[in-house]
Symmetry: C2
Subunit: 962 residues, 2 copies
């Protein structure tokens, strides 16, 4: 490696000379007064650190100049790593090449030849051979564009072999087979790549030879076979092109370089660029790299390694190698490679060097590396290094370890981990191989919307009651399958391991509940025909009966027949994740932005939780507030639903009041639990939101029952009991029909309901404050925030809020204690966003209900769109993404931005958050940071993801202006 | 009237004197170097034109200073009219009065006394009497606040009578009865108003006296009776207050003035102010006016008159008078007044004076006047004049006539007429008396939303088929009554005289169709129980059967039992209206505003029309474009619906194409008719908008039918035909259920449908362009504008519009002719408004669909809201108005404003209009003008109203900046 730094400036000197001679003037040396412009440098040696740094100050510049591969080789060489010698003809030449009519100008080529001279010096070898006792210098010629363009890369290996050097090589290496095998490869590649001869013309004689010799693999061919093939290949070239294979190695080199440049504007490249949506093809560089061989004997070898375990992230070198072998031998699998640790015994010195190099590599790249190396007669060459691919688990462990080792900063560790990594770690997963197998065996049942991630396995149950009976009662693993779910299915949903529906999308009832409870779900799998009478599902050619086993991948939106094995991790056990997200929270707690010209901390992560146990889980996951407690979920519980129905059907105010009085203690108890679990932290409780008919049975079912009963009465007569039952159903049907709305999502819901039945929300507010006072009296610290849903006009708040605040004050007076509280509004009606300045005159906080806001802003019914046109829209690229999954920043986001800025103009201290399904989506979290939200609130299971995303946002955008 | 101008400055002089004497200094006269500040003037004579004009330069200032009544008296006097003499103590005194502890300070009172001296001089009479042979001066004391406050006005008449002057009066007038009747009135009013004695204390002895004398009317009491009453009333005052009625006339005057000032802050005034939402009560002025008497003999009299006929607007004086009578005699109806024309014979000189005065009055007020006058012994006094109330018809005629007479400008004429006037003129109306009678007799059937104005009478028909059969087939007058209407009811709706529904509001299907066709409708009359089986409606205690007569007032939202008579006008016959709206169009054609710094004309009025005959009607009504042709309405016609259903149910693309090919000629023929009717004017045709299930039967009905058929099959067996019918219904039910959407308004509609079934809109565009080309080839000039509905994302246009433009070009090439055309988009999804900059990159015009935009921006389902919470919201003032009737400028309007400005930023020539139901609402038209719309489009019947409203907007806001 002593020669490595030699003659770095030779190329430049050559360039200067040529330039001077072309312009007809002698270079003016040492005359600073009239300094000649430096001639353009077209060629850079791998070790030409300074010149490159000068013209290309940033890594991006280097990449643009030298192409991806050239930049990598240059960078490794600069870092002092043992890289085969070589040089790069820059991407700029590619344009020159085209301008010159697909020719490399002599000014450029002279620089390449000078560089080759340096490489000869560096390696001590001669290109074209003839140096006694020393192997001729062979090189590979490789393309390398600014962006990786897989499949259009042109490469020719073993350039430098000809009829003479092949013999030198055979003699010196004492391995004629190796020499001729290399030669026939050069002929094949040169013929195909440079001379554009159909591969088939070379493959046919080779196949013919193998057949003739009765062998199966190329490796079984003898030296003589290969010599014969070399002769044949030379004839093919002559026959196909009318010319001989060039014996002049410099001609070989130039033709290869030209072939690479040609390929940059060739048909393949154009097609690729078009596919990528680029306006033009990308220019490529040409890399000329000294060939090294690991099959030069027992002091040679080749291998691959990861600097840390890519599966677990543990800090152990993991790799394998083979002595006296080439890379392809490892791949071919004829010989079994040894674990890298054995190298320590076999080649202790090289092993030590390798370990030192990989340690250096980690330091240079600040990351775990995936390396390829070759040992040629005792000399170690690093052929490639790159950041190693790793599992989610390893990504997190490596980030945490490297930060602990001070190899990277904590900020860097946070940046290194993706939300997908965190997501992956927290949901049970199937073994990928098992999934492949199942698909191969035709056991794919159905695909749908990936509504709630995670893997689940269970027996199909076709209704919620059965799911509860099996799941809760008998402890069986159940998958609940339904055409779609409704609020009264919830008891069966929470008892199931997974949920599978034929209708509804990512924000359907099934999906929302599933994510809320961390239950894997596939929704809207509309290829399924569910027969609720026969208790069968027909899909993808299968008919599956109730009780049969099904596996369900909620992250992929797929379900399979049978029982696939799963792995289920626990957050608290994920030490590294817990550490990492602790750092994330530290970042989010920094005052990284400004609000009203004052420093303002990053985004907090809160959770949506309806029950105390959800709140506890949310807190365990790191949530520091409850952003949404949906009070109506409490109404669906078995004991309570009849009371709620009684209230709805009541004709007299007294009966309504009586039912509400019965509900009060239930709600109060729920709220007490929430406040206890979240003592010291804010709890936002939303007043009743859904339309009342959701608490009543389905109108279609009632209509069918009633019609059937009429028919029975007509034809057969019915009993007294049946008559009584019919009467009840008639009353219920009349109520359901009277309450029926064409578009219930835009109907009597939220605050509208509160205004029509003021007693209902007053009861809820009373329950909230009684609970908060009771918990305060226990010595805890409840923070109650009462949220009014579906506000569209400030007058709605004016009508309701003072009355509710009065109730709050009354209760605190009764209890003789005061608690911290706020009153605020959901922002989910576009009009509320547009008139935010007015709304904030009463609302002390805003919480964006982005599900509804998206629904109304787009005019897409959440219940319908995802099983209808919306899927096609996303498929056809009419929409970039499903706006119910990733926030539509251009439309919905613009309204949010307006609302935040107008709201804070009215009330500078306005607390702003988001509690829609987007709260756990990383892109949406980033957006919420940018528009100035105080927090995002999401389902407990997505809290870790949101914590990471919030820190990412702070690192990306967070530069406090003051 | 010679004395009228005398001593105008006496009051000021008195004020100066008093002020000077108070300050202890002599007034410094004629020493301009050290001029003393003018003492404040608290009292103004009616003829003190100059002083008032100086301190109150505008009419509003005068009104503020003198109060409404005072200002009127001052103004008439200034105009040289014979008004009784008098003066006003200003409203400013009212505040002084309160500050001084409910006292009139002597500085102020001295000014009043001085003014009274002037009035004595002007009238030649003495206040308190004693001037030989001349009647004592009597005055009335009247309140008059800045705003009219009906019911809280305090008035005392005949002030100046006492035991002495009553005798003088009796002697001089030779009418003792008159004198004592006047005196007892003064005593009653003074007692009640000034001394706060209960009316009852005076009424009781009076009733007692009448009973005792056996008479019915006050007028039948004799002089002696009245003398006795005067004595009794004086005793009442003494008994109730412990003091005597003041005999000093100046004391009477002062006490009356104080009573008026007290009343301004009294209980009644406070209650009234609270009702009106004023923060404080309003101050009042006190007007002291000389009493004049029309019952002084045959050369006296009294009367009222309108300067033009307030009913027809004809230019004839219309009024009546009575000689030797007081105003109350006219009212009491004991004597029959004579028409004013007879005065010419009876009092030719006075008549001439009266005609000259009223002509002067019209010129002064530039308007038709409603006057009251009294002739006292040959002298004419104008007691009051005000702009006369008039019917809508008269309003329009008078405006046109007065502009033609150059009494007012055309602009003024336009301002004078309200949209309500125009509306009233164009819809059949009931006689108000008949309506009162019907209500009194308990014949009110039901009240609901005033969905489409006009009066209609007909026989109830309970379904559309019957309505068509009776209405179209048998030429009967029919009122169609339905729980709600659906598109397949349209044939029956258009055959009906009126529509009555139990469900749905101002933008329900029934309401929109009704307004579209100018059919009166009352919707959402939910007190009605409609029994479709029994064919009866039960409401308001009545049970009405099919075929019974009902009358329906669409403007009031009321319906009555029985046949009320109506009047039905025709636009073309309304000559004055046609003239007036011609002027309105001239105003709208002025370049009254700027767009991109260039002058830009006012708002055009276009119409929504689906059929050629609608377009013709719209053009007759003055529309200069079609802003919305709803192509889907054409699909509901009898012959076409089965083809549409076939297309919807088709499983194979070929079958879809075949059905579309069948529809093409129908659509083309419709469009040809439209283009012919609107040659030279733009016609915007909207591609299909509603969800497909609207073209299929009701799911509930199908479910009931199928369930019933199953039951019949089970219990009784069914025939082969029935089995076949069942099969068909099963297929239809399955399709309906499969297509069912939870919220169809936010579902598969508009462009979404166009993207899912591209053949459908391509067929429509082909039909549009084939029609346009054919009409062009006939020598006419079609302007086709193709409108894409429900756009929410620019990519939707990108996906569809180029394909449609291709079809357009293809057709024009086939036909060998080019036509003028544009492609544009509805703006009805909030997101389209928010991203208008993007949308305008493809859309050449925007048309606001404010029905849907309101629906989505508010999150109010149009189909449901108006029968639910929305009515309560409007009732309780949570919403100022129903946003489906009057555009919500703060919310929805803000989005529109944003869309116009962003759209024009992208495309400065963007054509912008509105085609929602608001297009015909005057306030909304005003808003559309302000945000820079090019046109509004409304139903043909509202075009005249919109034309007037557009001109109003131009006059109000239209000041071109450049």
């Amino acid at each position: 490696m002593a020669t490595k730094t030699a003659s770095k400036t030779a190329v430049k000197a050559a360039a200067a000379k040529k330039s001077a001679s072309k312009s007809g003037k002698a270079p003016v040396a040492n005359t600073p007064a009239v300094k000649a412009p430096a001639p353009k440098q077209w060629v850079y040696l791998f070790n030409d650190t300074k010149s490159v740094s000068k013209v290309a100050p940033t890594w991006n510049d280097v990449r643009n100049l030298l192409g991806g591969k050239g930049a990598g080789l240059w960078d490794m060489t600069s870092a002092g790593l043992p890289v085969p010698f070589g040089f790069t003809i820059t991407t700029e030449v590619c344009d020159e090449f085209v301008s010159a009519g697909n020719q490399i100008t002599s000014a450029i080529w002279d620089q390449a030849l000078s560089a080759m001279k340096v490489v000869e010096k560096q390696s001590g070898k001669q290109f074209g051979g003839g140096k006694k006792g020393i192997r001729p210098l062979l090189v590979s010629v490789r393309s390398g564009a600014r962006e990786s363009m897989p499949g259009m890369m042109e490469t020719v290996l073993n350039v430098g072999l000809n009829d003479a050097t092949v013999e030198e090589m055979a003699t010196i290496t004492k391995n004629a087979r190796f020499a001729y095998d290399s030669y026939r490869r050069l002929l094949m590649m040169f013929g195909a790549t440079v001379l554009d001869i159909d591969d088939e013309k070379f493959d046919a004689p080779m196949e013919h030879m193998k057949e003739h010799k009765g062998v199966k693999h190329d490796t079984e061919l003898t030296t003589d076979d290969l010599k014969e093939l070399v002769a044949t290949f030379k004839q093919v070239i002559k026959k196909e092109t009318g010319r001989d294979f060039p014996q002049d190695v410099h001609d070989q080199l130039k033709e290869c370089a030209m072939a690479v440049f040609r390929s940059a504007t060739g048909h393949k490249a154009k097609t690729y660029a078009k596919q990528m949506g680029w306006k033009t093809t990308l220019p490529t560089a040409v890399n000329v790299v000294m060939m090294v061989f690991g099959n030069m004997g027992e002091n040679s070898g080749t291998g691959v390694a990861f600097t840390r375990d890519p599966s677990t992230g543990n800090k152990v070198m993991l790799g394998e190698y083979l002595l006296n072998a080439q890379g392809e031998d490892v791949v071919a699998g004829i010989r079994t490679p040894k674990p890298i640790t054995e190298m320590e015994k076999e080649m202790p010195k090289t092993y030590k060097q390798f370990m030192s190099i990989t340690s250096k590599l980690e330091k240079h790249y600040h990351n775990m590396q995936d390396v390829e190396f070759t040992i040629e007669e005792g000399t170690l060459y690093m052929l490639q290094t790159r950041n190693g691919k790793r599992t989610a688990r390893a990504a997190i462990k490596i980030a945490v370890d490297q930060a602990t080792e001070k190899l990277i900063t904590k900020d860097e560790a946070i940046k290194r981990v993706t939300p997908t990594d965190v997501d992956f770690l927290l949901h049970p997963q199937f073994d990928g191989e098992e999934v492949k197998k199942a698909k191969k065996e035709g056991r794919l049942l159905a695909t749908g919307v990936n509504a709630s991630p995670g893997a689940a396995v269970g027996m199909l149950a076709f209704d919620a009651d059965l799911a509860e009976k099996w799941g809760k009662g008998e402890g069986k693993a159940v998958i609940l399958i339904r055409p779609e779910t409704k609020p009264d299915d919830v008891h069966g949903m929470v008892a199931a391991k997974g949920i599978l529906t034929a209708r509804g999308g990512a924000t359907s009832h099934a999906a929302v509940v599933a994510r809320q409870f961390g239950i894997p779900a596939v929704c809207g799998a509309d290829m399924m025909k569910i027969d609720l009478t026969a208790r069968t599902v027909t899909s993808n050619g299968h008919v599956i009966k109730e009780g049969e086993w099904v596996s369900l991948d909620g992250a992929k939106g797929e379900s399979y027949i049978g029982h696939l094995p799963t792995v289920a991790p626990r957050y608290e056990d994920q030490e590294d994740l817990v550490t990492l997200l602790g750092w994330a929270d530290e970042i989010s707690a920094r005052k990284t932005r400004t609000l009203n010209d004052k420093p303002f901390r990053g985004l907090q992560v809160w959770a949506n939780a309806d029950y105390p146990k959800d709140a506890e889980r949310a807190r365990a996951f790191g949530a520091i507030g409850i952003g949404l407690c949906r009070t109506e979920h409490m109404f669906f519980e078995e004991v309570r639903l009849p009371i709620v129905q009684r209230m709805i059907l009541a004709k007299e105010p007294d009966a309504v009041e009586a039912a509400l009085a019965e509900l009060l203690p239930f709600q109060r108890a729920d709220f007490e639990g929430l406040f206890r679990a979240m003592s010291g932290l804010p709890v936002i409780i939303r007043l009743i939101d859904p339309p009342l008919h959701e608490f009543l049975p389905s109108g279609d079912d009632l209509l069918k029952d009633v019609t059937n009963a009429y028919a029975k009465r007509k034809y057969e007569g019915i009993s007294e009991d049946e008559e009584k039952e019919l009467k009840g159903k008639e009353v219920m049907l009349a109520a359901v029909q009277q309450m029926h709305e064409q578009n219930p999502m835009m109907g009597l819901r939220g605050i509208r309901l509160g205004i029509m039945i003021p007693g209902l929300i007053k009861m809820q507010v009373r329950a909230i404050f009684e609970a908060a006072c009771n918990v305060k009296l226990e010595g805890l610290d409840p923070h109650a925030e009462v949220m009014i849903p579906l506000t569209g006009h400030i007058n709605e708040l004016k009508h309701v809020q003072p009355e509710l605040e009065k109730v709050a004050k009354e209760v605190m007076k009764e209890k003789g204690v005061t608690v911290k509280y706020k009153f605020g509004s959901m922002i989910e009606i576009p009009r509320a966003a547009v008139t935010a300045f007015e709304i904030a005159s009463l609302a002390e906080f805003f919480s964006f209900g982005t599900n509804d806001l998206t629904q109304m802003t787009y005019g897409y019914s959440r219940d319908d769109a995802e099983r209808g046109f919306l899927l096609k829209y996303v498929e056809d690229g009419i929409l970039p993404t499903n706006p119910f999954q990733t926030l539509d920043q251009t439309g919905v986001g613009e309204l949010m931005k307006m609302a935040v800025s107008e709201g804070r103009r009215q009330r500078p201290t306005l607390e702003v958050g988001i509690c829609g399904e987007h709260g756990g989506d990383p892109d949406s979290v980033d957006f919420c940071y940018r528009i100035g939200n105080n927090y995002v609130s999401c389902s407990p299971f997505r809290v870790p993801i949101a914590r990471l995303a919030a820190a990412h946002a702070a690192l990306k955008h967070g530069i406090a202006k003051k």
